[in-house]
Amino acid sequence: MSSLGALLLFACIGAGTFAMRFSFVALMSRLKLPAWSAEVLSFVPTAVLSALILPQLVLAPDGSFLSAQTHPTALAGIAAIVAALLSRNVLVTIVIGIATLWVSQAVLA
């Protein structure tokens, strides 16, 4: 993509994101979200982030599922999930995940 195209795309995403961040702050507190929309939105981060995470853990760049190439990543993912649940700490999760990735890459190589 050209630099100009990328800047235009960033500007559109930035403007849309700002509009969402500003929406209710601008409209004051009189307008309340209907209950169903708040409910729908409450699932957005979890559903979207899981959809981002899982393919990265189990799919190789060529799309193959749990191939030898992705075994270390999948193991690191499991370790990171356990670390996240136990520690509730981002740094601990990253360190355990990457350490597991190194170990399993070395062992499985």
Partner: protein
Amino acid sequence: MGFTGGVGVTTDERNELIMGMRDCAALLPGTVPFGLALGTVAAQSGLPALVSHSSSYVIFAGSAQLITLSMMNLESLAPPMLILITALVLNLRHVLYSASLAPHLKHLGWRWKVLLSYLTTDETYAVSIQRLQAGNTPRIAHWHFLGANLLLWASWQTSTLLGLFISGAIPASWGLGFAVPATFIAIVFPALKDKPMMAAALVGGVIAVLCAGLPFKSGILVAAAAGIAAGMLTKHLVTNTTA
């Protein structure tokens, strides 16, 4: 609240600002590696450094920048309209944050509202909404939010820029790219407090894997919609059976 010459800041306001920065500082061990990793992804987009880094202040939303820049990867460039829709769907949660912040910011002027809205992130919302809702310092608690936001903004600009320039020096075998899914894992999994959330995560993740072959990464949108639907269905099935 005496006359302070227009730009003056009272001691209470300054204390509130510093407290916000201190609360935000506790989160930097997670956001700085995320920023470094994002800088690495930005370097792979094939764009000039200053163009890809502009996403850090034009968009200023880590997960949306991540999906945007990885969808712009030279090998598999997705259509811009799809990138736009995906990033905005990912950021829809900001409407919720805005609704929750609005009552606490309504006494402020437009400049405050614009600035704080631009700066809102998952992390700073999470640390400051507690302060805002506590109501101990209702007229000045927005200074806490400002302090948290300013520190996160500055550290985000620094870490993404640093990541962009050192990315060539870090071998891929170090696996620092794993910091990104690991950060998301650290955000998602501790938040799986009930069955509806677990259903949303499980269905969203599994459908994303199944739909990974769909053209232009549109599987993420399908998966997100399926995950949200699964969460809503589970919530109402659980409510109906227990009520």
